[in-house]
């Protein structure tokens, strides 16, 4: 994202998304265990300075859109023994999400 550009929400509640399966070094908020999995946008959380940039002593601007994404627990944990409809919510920044 170029400096000064206005961040746009590419997704809306209910959209299916896939988390990027990438492993860059640095401070990344996207948990390892959720990378590569698909879920559904539960809500838009707003825009926040990019923590990956804040972690490197920069201002993290422009702010980046953040979403709460809902996954099925049975998709996340191969040996999950709970109810099949159980869900897990993870807050993920937009640049970690693709259209599946």
């Amino acid at each position: 994202m170029s400096s000064g550009s206005v961040p746009e929400f590419r997704f809306k509640a209910g959209d299916r998304v896939k988390v990027r399966k990438a492993y860059p070094l640095g401070h990344i908020r996207t948990p390892y265990y959720i990378r590569g999995l698909s879920g559904t946008i539960e809500r838009l959380c707003g825009e926040f300075p990019n923590p990956e940039e804040l972690a490197q002593m920069r201002d993290g601007l422009p702010p980046v859109p953040l979403y709460r994404v809902r996954f099925l627990q049975k998709d996340v944990w191969p040996d999950y023994r709970g109810a099949p409809q159980d869900t897990l919510d993870v807050e993920i920044f937009q640049h970690w999400l693709d259209t599946p």
């Binding site: 401070h27 948990p31 390892y32 959720i34 923590p51 804040l54 972690a55 993290g60």
Partner: protein, 94 residues
Amino acid sequence: MGGLPAGKVERTEHDYAEWERRVDAMAVLLMGHDITVDERRRHIEQIPPADYDRLGYYEKWIVSLGQALIQRGVITSDELGRKIEQVRGRSPNS
């Protein structure tokens, strides 16, 4: 932890030690000097795995604050290392 197998979660409450309160206070004060929680998390994530498992929660915070201050030139690694040795050498009653 990070989706990896780990031990049972300890759910009991415990009082904070005085040094833990001080570390918390330092972290809050240094936030006013643009040492963000994100920057501190980056330092904590760079702790080697064996040390990461050995250190307690606020001990990891100390590591992160120390690294942030070293990067800014507020203190040097040498000063911090010597101070730690000096504190280790204190008798328990002093």
